[in-house]
């Protein structure tokens, strides 16, 4: 952190992270696409409340929406009523978001190459979600949480927007 770009400490909320690392901003909901909009709006507002500009918060919301859609469609194969948890961990320098589920897991970030023309030529209706997450977030990771659940972790730093991306 460079000293000439101080983090505005009044934008942090350390109370939203607990000593044991568990987040205190958590949403639990059943796998159903009807909740996607609610989740997106919640993510947007949490990003705003924890110090991101409106345009940045929109991008974070966009990534959370894509990640949650993947959990419903790929991890749970569209099955409704399965459990999804989202933990938001706002810190001084970043907002970390974990999306947890008990469905099929991804071990690592897939799709190294992204070729929109190829997707179009193949008449594909998808294949953009992971790329979007990578583009708009600073970190994307798949793995297992301590609880044994599978998770997708999204990280966004606060300083990025100060530098003009």
């Amino acid at each position: 952190m460079s000293p000439d770009e101080p983090i505005e400490s009044n934008e942090d909320d350390p109370s939203a992270s607990r000593p044991n690392g568990r987040s205190m901003l958590e949403l639990r909901f059943p796998s159903n696409t009807k909740y996607l909009h609610m989740v997106r709006e919640l993510a947007r507002r949490i990003a705003e409340s924890t110090g991101f500009e409106a345009a940045e918060a929109e991008k974070i919301a966009m990534a959370v929406n894509e990640a949650t859609t993947n959990v419903i469609e790929h991890a749970y194969h569209g099955e409704e009523g399965r459990e999804i948890e989202i933990h938001f961990q706002p810190g001084g320098e970043s907002l970390d978001i974990q999306i947890l589920h008990d469905g099929d897991a991804l071990e690592e970030v897939p799709m190294p190459g992204f070729d929109l023309d190829k997707l179009v030529a193949e008449r594909r209706k998808g294949g953009m979600g992971i790329y979007i997450m990578k583009q708009v977030m600073d970190g994307l990771r798949f793995g297992k949480a301590g609880s044994g659940k599978s998770m997708c972790v999204l990280v966004r730093y606060k300083r990025r927007d100060r530098k003009g991306e």
């Binding site: 696409t33 009807k34 996607l36 909009h37 997106r40 345009a55 929109e58 991008k59 966009m62 929406n65 894509e66 859609t69 419903i72 469609e73 929109l116 023309d117 997707l119 179009v120 030529a121 008449r123 594909r124 209706k125 998808g126 294949g127 953009m128 979600g129 790329y131 979007i132 583009q135 708009v136």
Partner: protein
């Protein structure tokens, strides 16, 4: 409660589709059906007017992506207009503007079809 409602209007041989609400994995079938309805009735010159669209997720862009080659092979296209910042944002992130032409006004989007009508 209305997550998405669809309307469409004919402007000559162009059909303008007006999605109202948001397009995500929950609402995308409605949007896709409107595209398919236009195509099935032989209208392949499509304009999507996004003035009522709050945002579109990759699922919604997928519906465009999945059909654009087919309408093009029929001498048509899918063109976009009146998009808000949030929608332009996701297009930029993906480079979707290389795939789809984006206009500032419905008028421009509609008349763009007659300009290049020679190969129709």
């Amino acid at each position: 409660m209305a997550d998405l409602s669809m309307a469409s209007e004919r402007r000559g041989d162009v059909v303008v589709i007006y999605p109202r609400g948001f397009i995500n994995a929950h609402t995308v079938r409605q949007f896709e059906q409107e595209l398919e309805r236009a195509m099935e009735s032989g209208r392949n010159r499509i304009v999507i007017n996004g003035s009522g669209l709050s945002y579109i997720a990759s699922a919604g862009l997928g519906a465009i992506m999945g059909h654009i080659e087919d309408v093009r092979s029929q001498g048509g296209d899918i063109r976009l207009t009146d998009l808000n910042e949030t929608v332009l944002n996701i297009l930029n992130v993906l480079g979707f503007n290389h795939i789809c032409r984006v206009f500032d006004s419905e008028q421009e989007a509609v008349t763009s079809y007659s300009e290049a009508a020679s190969n129709d």
